[in-house]
């Protein structure tokens, strides 16, 4: 990968990778730290791969997301950067968003879903964000997390059930 290709990778997918980091960590500062650590970690590998096509660009993005997950898990294991499941920053962000859209019912539902996702156990939350936010294939999630595809499916199933229950508890029936 050339410097120009690396720049284009950041322009095309940097925002998505940073957003993914934010979903993992729950706040902007930690997300930027994780984003930076992820890129630094990946330099040597990125320098050795081609990134000419859209597919190769997506593959590089998925690789970076895999690294972000592993770094995040390592950091949590070392208890160096532990975050509560739903931080004040995220809450502020959601309520700020809520005010802007004038408390529409749809946005309230989105907020409830995001709260439900954020409240998921880490293993379920990671696969959920990889599928729904990072738009990764099940097989790619399995590859990046080094787990069988069946495990990804079962974690997603448990995540969906948990999100449905959360919504039901908050008055959103029929999902």
């Amino acid at each position: 990968m050339t410097v120009t290709q690396f720049e284009s990778l950041l322009i095309t997918h940097g925002s998505a990778i940073l957003g993914f980091c934010r979903h993992l960590t729950g706040n902007e500062v930690s997300a930027q730290d994780l984003y930076q650590d992820t890129l630094l970690k990946a330099f040597s590998k990125l320098a050795r791969i081609n990134c000419d096509t859209t597919e190769e660009m997506i593959s590089a993005k998925n690789y970076l997301i895999g690294i972000a997950v592993r770094l995040y898990q390592n950091q949590k294991r070392r208890k160096m950067n532990y975050e509560t499941s739903f931080t004040d920053d995220m809450e502020d962000m959601l309520y700020a968003e809520e005010n802007v859209i004038d408390e529409s019912e749809q946005k309230e539902l989105y907020i409830a879903v995001r709260q439900a996702v954020d409240a998921l156990p880490e293993k379920l939350r990671i696969v959920t964000v990889m599928l729904y936010y990072a738009d990764m294939e099940l097989s790619e999630i399995a590859h990046q997390l080094k787990i069988p595809t069946g495990t990804v499916k079962s974690r997603l199933s448990r995540a969906r059930t948990s999100i449905r229950e959360h919504l039901k508890e908050n008055g959103y029936e029929g999902f």
Binding site: F43, V129, Y133
Partner: protein, 198 residues
Amino acid sequence: MKDFDELIRESLLDSPEMNEELNCTMIREFEKRTSKKKSRRWIGALVIPAALAMMGAGVYAASENGFFHDQKDIFGTVTGLTYENATAEIGVSAVYAEDAVNVTLDFLKADVPPYTAIETIRLYGKNMTLTGASGEIDCNGFDTEPAEISMGKAALVIPTGQLPAGTYQLKVNAFTGEKKADAPLDILGNWNVEFTVK
């Protein structure tokens, strides 16, 4: 009713404001690192010490320093590489907490190979013995997850489960260094640490 999967996808959608300065820093750093010679690569980091080891492993073995050693099969074909005599290069301490033995590794020569060329390190049950008052405990299955090496340190968690109260001796004869896309490297030595379960 909106499709449930689509609802989750739309709920998670956002476009965080990109920190352009951060991206510029990353691009400059990428340019700086990729313009350097390939000596930073794993294989490059190993070739010279491995060659030295082949020339005089005996001399190195007698010293305090670790050394690389080729693994050969009965036909003399090189089948792998290990790093040996590393006892004095890695400090090991252990404490028991939350049904696991937490082992801290302190890399005393973190700025030289092989430690500069590994990203994570782990410990397999087959490479340790754990002895308590009632005798040796079977360590099969006590494999740790890979731990990232950061600032010359790494933290391993041995999932022993609950242990009876008492004093235990942990003996380790090899840690395994790993780097993505490269073969694992066994780092051999003789580490003995003691910990207490209350």
